[in-house]
């Protein structure tokens, strides 16, 4: 490891501009909500009254510091509303991630096995929805899933069902929404992993007598592990904190944590509670991130 480099004045200025922006509008605000999460909710009637003032004397600061409270965090565990919301979020995100994987893997495999000259076009087609409005794509599903929506109408016209199926405002609808909206995030990393595989490995396995299924299970699938992990995290992590999809497609049984935070903030005006929810949410999401980083590192070590 070499010693840190000394930067020239110009380099320091280049670095300072994005640094200042991040410090002012990302790091400081995050510290601020960490602080708000430790304050009493009684102080938090809007507008938010700052607990520490620059004009405070040391004695005043100390007195105020003693009123810091962990009540907001305690509520996250003891209040079943929060606890259920966390569990629901993790559960919905996990199921949706699994289904997305099941949908995306064959799709990615089919793209990776397509003729070389078709692949850029197929990838472009698969990635294009990522660029279109997320809100509108979720909204499109309302018209499909409603009681008088297109799917129920079609099923009734075919005589498969008599009464409309309750699909809208259910947990299932939220899962469909997540699978649909996040599919490109799963598809592209898996495709990248499959596309990078050396076809001679599969040929060798086949030459040695492996059936196509065995080739898939013992060569293709293990070698695409990194893409699967990356895709799963790219779907799971944002899905846990998702707000728009459960709010538009979900019912009261799919109260996810992002919606709880939103309600605490906009409806109940309970800033300390919302801040505690936010900080706890970030802490939960750090776990899969660290696991990912560890998996990546062991993977790199394995290759060396």
């Amino acid at each position: 490891m070499s010693a840190p480099r000394k930067l020239s004045l110009g380099q320091r200025l280049t670095l300072a501009i994005p640094y200042l922006w991040i410090a002012a509008f990302f790091l400081a605000p995050m510290l601020l909500i960490a602080k708000i999460s430790l304050s009493h909710s009684v102080l938090a009637r809007p507008p938010y009254a700052p607990r520490f003032l620059p004009s405070d004397t040391l004695a005043q600061l100390w007195a105020k510091a003693q009123t810091l409270t962990l009540d907001n965090y305690r509520a996250l565990v003891t209040d079943s509303l929060y606890f259920d919301a966390y569990l629901t979020s993790l559960w919905i995100a996990a199921v949706a991630t699994l289904i997305t994987l099941v949908v995306a893997y064959p799709f990615a495999l089919a793209m990776a096995r397509s003729p070389q000259r078709w692949r850029p076009f197929l990838i472009g087609l698969a990635a294009a929805p990522f660029w279109t409005s997320f809100l509108i794509r979720v909204y499109a599903w309302i018209a499909l899933l409603k009681d008088e929506g297109l799917i129920n109408n079609a099923l009734q016209a075919l005589g498969l069902i008599d009464a409309p199926l309750q699909m809208f405002a259910t947990t299932g609808a939220v899962i469909v929404g997540i699978v649909y909206s996040y599919l490109p995030f799963m598809l592209l990393p898996i495709y990248a992993a499959l596309d990078g595989q050396d076809p001679s490995l599969r040929e060798a396995a086949a030459d040695l007598g492996a059936s196509p299924m065995q080739v898939f299970l013992r060569v293709t699938l293990p070698l695409s592990r990194e893409g699967v992990i990356a895709g799963a995290l790219l779907v799971f992590i944002p899905a846990v904190g998702e707000f728009v999809i459960p709010d538009l497609l979900g019912g009261s049984d799919s109260l996810m944590i992002g919606r709880t935070l939103w309600n605490d903030f906009f409806a109940n005006h309970d800033w300390p509670a919302a801040s505690a929810v936010a900080i706890a949410l970030v802490s939960i999401l750090l776990v899969p991130l660290l696991l990912w980083e560890r998996a990546r590192l062991t993977d790199e070590e394995g290759r060396q």
């Binding site: 922006w21 794509r137 909204y139 599903w141 904190g241 728009v244 538009l248």
Partner: protein, 263 residues
């Protein structure tokens, strides 16, 4: 590949693309439905588009959204470029790890958390919320995406060319602008486009960061969507989708032209 495998591959591709595109196509088709009801086809009509043109509130939010997207994407691309240069070229400077982490963190942070943090900050500073705070929020959200895009582009281009330019007497800034910048021009364009579409689409950060005077288009759409499916919203959604499709097509052409020039 055998014939059965080929048929399976094509069937999988078709199923995948139908899943991805059917909801969007149905939405667009419904915007031309004369009937107000989703489930009834009342004939072809463009009346919802005409109604849009008379909807002052929606048009005003569209203007605000476009202005915020252009401005925030510009700032985010510049900041992302500076951050990417620092990360790609400055070696192991002190606090590089903190900088790297802070630049990438908003990528994985739930938007509700970032929105809440920004709003708390604006209120603590006593700043009135409106267009300026909206742009600040969107720059903070999108600059991590532009940084990542530009970082990988900068890593892909050879620093020795710049060093050669400096050996020949160019200042570092001049060498960067004349040598490296043209090489990453396509990445700059796509980073801008990415930030632009993210800002245009954002609902969550905007709801936290903006004030009564600057309601964005997604916020307006969202408040109407909660009341139910409306043909006017289908129409404006179709316009937005068409807008993105044209922009994507243009940027694909630009990339191709760039590749042909050997970039």
């Amino acid at each position: 590949m055998n014939r059965a495998g080929n048929a399976l591959r094509i069937a999988t591709l078709c199923a995948g693309f139908v899943f991805l595109y059917a909801p969007i196509v149905i939405l667009a088709a419904m915007s031309f439905n004369a009937s107000r009801l989703v489930s009834v086809w009342g004939g072809f009509s463009t009346k919802w588009y005409v109604a849009l043109l008379n909807n002052e509130l929606l048009l005003e939010s569209a203007r605000i959204s476009l202005a915020a997207a252009v401005l925030s994407a510009t700032i985010a691309t510049i900041l992302g470029l500076l951050a990417a240069v620092a990360l790609a070229r400055y070696g192991a400077f002190r606090s590089r790890l903190l900088f790297f982490g802070a630049v990438h963190a908003p990528l994985v942070l739930p938007e509700v958390v970032l929105g809440l943090a920004l709003l708390s900050c604006f209120v603590a500073l006593g700043v009135g919320r409106g267009f300026v705070t909206l742009v600040i929020g969107h720059v903070t959200l999108t600059m991590c995406f532009t940084t990542v895009a530009l970082l990988s582009a900068l890593r892909g281009c050879d620093p020795t060319l710049e060093e050669a330019a400096m050996d020949l007497g160019a200042t570092p800034v001049k060498a960067f602008v004349l040598v490296a910048l043209p090489q990453i021009a396509p990445a700059l364009a796509s980073a801008f486009m990415l930030a632009f579409t993210l800002s245009l689409d954002d609902l969550v950060i905007a709801s936290f960061a903006t004030g009564p005077g600057a309601t964005t288009l997604p916020m307006r759409i969202y408040s109407q969507v909660r009341l139910g499916v409306s043909p006017q919203i289908n129409a404006i959604s179709t316009l937005l989708l068409g807008f993105v499709a044209v922009a994507l097509g243009l940027s694909a052409l630009a990339m191709q032209a760039g590749r042909r020039r050997g970039l």
